[in-house]
Assembly symmetry: C2
Homo-oligomer: 538 residues x 2
């Protein structure tokens, strides 16, 4: 036998629930790993047969049975290579987040995840029982240990594998993207590898799953804690790594993209996968001439190609001519089909219809919402008639303070910028323009406006976005109190107003479309606040 | 000292997050228990100072600090009575679901919940560390043990309290209503009491909290497992119970209402509390002449009084004259204000506006959705202008199969019938009419129709509701597979169609309004399925 072990990282885009298709991907990848890469072992991500996270599908006996059948079917096919595959495993009423090692038609080793994450976006204690045993098995004369995802982030499991003789750790993961998640992973892997003097082969899945973005970023870290191989972000990869006796991992040069590029690519991947995996033929974007819809449109085109994207202009009496000009410049640059449908007659009819009910009442936010909702009806009618999904264009700052209309601009199937603060929207627009100017400079430079009333500006209702986003960072991501935020140097009245706006718009967020998550605390599955909430902090 | 211990069950409606108000309720109840009931001890529900469930408020340090301060403030006030109060307790980075026993200015005993529910609607492992010690303390010469909620449902904690000398168990709870939850509780309490030969004083909170309904139903069960006292459902109560030496609990006669009455009262309480706790001045209901909006309106009137409820008729060309007649009869009987606003001109304008885009296309569901959405815009405009919350009227059967329009009839703040299958809607209407005929007989007897197209009937698109609801019960509540449901005697094509409809309407449910939960598996926090889901079962 050779003095080295060749490992292929199967950084794949797996589909939650689609076990049959996932199984085919496993078969194909295993054949390629064996026949083209001459690998000894291929490692798939966490719960690779089911995709991650399967959520309450795990409560369905039929789902667990199908996964079990797929595992046996795959095992029967594996010849002349070892295969580490992730799957749920049911044993006497206990379900485990497991992986099995397949070789020459048999399951030769088995591991159940020992540390179950149940915070943030994770609910693993809802489904799984923790395992309590290490898994170390020989390939040729190397002792190979397995730990799964969270096991790496906590003390214990790698150390236990080492004490059972492991010389190298293979780790299947399903680790969702966040702005600085790669750096967090690097730091954890380096610490764990050094602490236990063990190289770690880290395999992550890639792809969008509703709000979650799996960025890949599979790595190999040697026993000194240095990252010596990197499989890249946001694309599938079968990445071979050689583990040479005496604990050395072969190195290969790599570059890691800047954070702003990662975020942009994350949004592109999330949007593409939501559309493709849900079998939509394309998307509609209501284009206002503002920065949010411009960036959303650019991302949509980068995700799907211009032929699958349609821009709809929905002008009203308050739409400035520069909005239409900038929208036209944008759609010309991107080369997408456009349609213009005025909302004026619809709004006029609605105002007339409501006039008897509203007699003696002043115009207020009601009339603004009517405009936003008239746009939504028209976009949704186009969506219903032609089968295109509506992308919403609101950003995280608006979503936080409720500066958006329920059933209006919030109406749609996927909210591309839902987790992007307004100040980051500008940075992403600048980044996109560096790769080819598509968003007009005036769209970037003009003051933000909802154009729902004469001469309206966002800053009439909200603090400047630079201040708002700083307060939101403190309150949302860092769970600071009003007192702490004031002590950071912000005006107490402004902070209190923002916190109250956050609280009173919870009901809107509960009815919002799903959208890609990039923050440590996003407004999706890791933000679980009651609508009915008497906490004031005041 | 007397030979008996007098215990007051404080079955209170506490408000999540509103610690200051909850604290005042504790003070007042304690004074009444001591001075009017001459009680030795008062027992509040689980997490009584914060209300239950506080969800991610538990992640906010300022919230935990406020709860801690409230506990100390309450302790300082307690004189000449023992007080068992529920609160989160932070100790060296670990948060516990705790209760403390207060007496004469001091915390004299402390207990941390040992079994944390993390299934169904519960996410307690997200926040809490389990306790690992019994709490048994003396009052006069009686040894009193404490366990919290889930501790009763699992083996271990009561047995351990007994082994530490407990002669009686006090149990603070926050147990949400389900159709047969009272019977489940009775069975668990009887088993536990007999098993450990211990009487149990069971104290539950009461009140609506978003989707959750806490029904109260506090009880006392003696060591033979017999329920000898019952504090009633759906109302606050300070209920005194005497525990006589030698383990006997005094009995008092009681009746338990029938399940149909419980469900009706649960919906009334949930609706009332959502409106009141969120400070809405009233509600709007779009009344169609059909059974769902009729029942919703009746519940709203029973919850809030007729002066806080307004019915809005929104007729179109497809509205039958009998719909308007029946709607009028209903609103006359209930005595609510009404308004009639036709959607015809709005729909006409929208169809004309969209005509160039839809040239050559046949009429389809798009035009039906336009009607539902025109109604939503008008209702929401009234809501915005007058501050009334819109109640949606859709039922669980529709929500399951997506027979509802996003941003149309789904638009609103609270979905009263969201968890009520259509067949149960009829039973609840009949129950309500027994207490005074308000829903016209013709509304109950005519075939269900959405009235969005000529001569439309629900059964043109769906199986008869008796069949649909049976299939939904198997698939949703019992997690049966298609194969199992077919083996129950249902047509395979029908079952497959229903399961596919459930799957493909997940995105709608994700954007639905919150509404009261009565099922073991409701479409709210205990139904966590991905939008992007490749599982077919086929």
């Amino acid at each position: 036998m050779s003095a080295k072990l060749r490992i292929v990282q199967a950084q794949l885009n797996l589909q939650v629930g689609n076990i049959a298709e996932n199984l085919e991907k496993h078969r194909l990848a295993t054949v390629i790993a064996r026949d083209q890469f001459h690998a000894d072992i291929i490692v798939f991500p966490e719960l690779s047969l089911t995709g991650y996270p399967p959520e309450d599908l795990l409560y369905r006996p039929a789902f667990i049975q199908e996964a079990q059948a797929a595992l046996l079917s795959l095992a029967a096919d594996i010849k002349d290579i070892y295969c580490v595959v992730g799957h749920p495993h049911l044993e006497r009423d206990h379900l485990f987040n497991a992986c099995s090692v397949l070789h020459d038609g048999k399951v030769i080793a088995y591991y159940a995840k020992q540390r179950l994450p149940n915070y943030g976006v994770f609910d693993e204690c809802r489904y799984f029982t923790p395992g309590n045993a290490s898994c170390v098995f020989p390939i040729q004369d190397t002792q190979v240990g397995i730990v799964i995802c969270e096991d790496l982030w906590k003390l214990g499991p790698t150390r236990a594998a080492k004490s059972h003789g492991a010389e190298i750790i293979l780790s299947p993961n399903a680790s969702p993207f966040e702005v600085d998640k790669h750096e967090q992973r690097l730091s954890v892997l380096a610490k764990r590898a050094k602490h236990d003097n063990l190289p770690i082969i880290y395999v992550n899945q890639v792809g969008g799953q509703d709000d979650l973005i799996f960025d890949g970023g599979s790595m190999a870290v040697n026993a000194m804690g240095d990252c010596c191989q990197f499989a890249g972000f946001f694309h599938e990869s079968l990445h071979p790594i050689d583990f040479v006796k005496k604990g050395r991992i072969t190195s290969a040069p790599f570059t890691v993209p800047e954070p702003i590029e990662r975020i942009y690519q994350a949004l592109v991947l999330a949007t593409r996968d939501y559309i493709h995996k849900n079998h939509f033929s394309g998307v509609l974007v209501g284009v206002s001439g503002g920065i949010d819809s411009a960036l959303t449109l650019a991302i949509a085109v980068d995700a799907l190609g211009k032929d699958k994207v349609k821009a709809v202009f929905l002008p009203s009496q308050y739409t400035a001519s520069m909005s239409l000009e900038d929208g036209k410049a944008l759609t010309d640059e991107l080369g997408v089909a456009t349609e213009t449908i005025s909302i004026e007659s619809t709004c006029k009819t609605l105002v007339e219809t409501l006039a008897p009910s509203f007699a003696g009442k002043k115009s207020d936010v009601t009339e603004e919402n009517i405009q936003a909702r008239a746009r939504a009806i028209i976009l949704m009618a186009l969506s219903n008639k032609f089968g295109y999904l509506v992308l919403t264009t609101g950003n995280r700052s608006e979503m936080a303070v409720g500066y958006c209309t329920l059933y209006g601009d919030m109406a749609g199937g996927y909210a591309v910028l839902k987790d992007i603060p307004k100040t980051l929207v500008y940075k992403l627009a600048a980044f996109r323009n560096q790769r080819g100017q598509v968003i007009p400079q005036r769209t970037i430079e003009r003051p933000p406006t909802a154009e729902l009333a004469p001469n309206q500006k966002d800053e009439d209702s909200l603090p400047p976005y630079s201040i708002l986003d700083s307060i939101l960072e403190c309150y949302l991501n860092q769970s600071q109190s009003i007192e702490e935020i004031v002590n950071n140097g912000f005006d107490r009245n402004v902070v209190t107003k923002v916190v109250n706006l956050i609280k009173y718009s919870e009901y809107k967020r509960k009815q919002a479309a799903v959208g890609p998550r990039i923050n440590h605390k996003s407004f999706i599955r890791d933000w679980r606040y009651p609508n009915t909430n008497g906490f004031t902090e005041l």
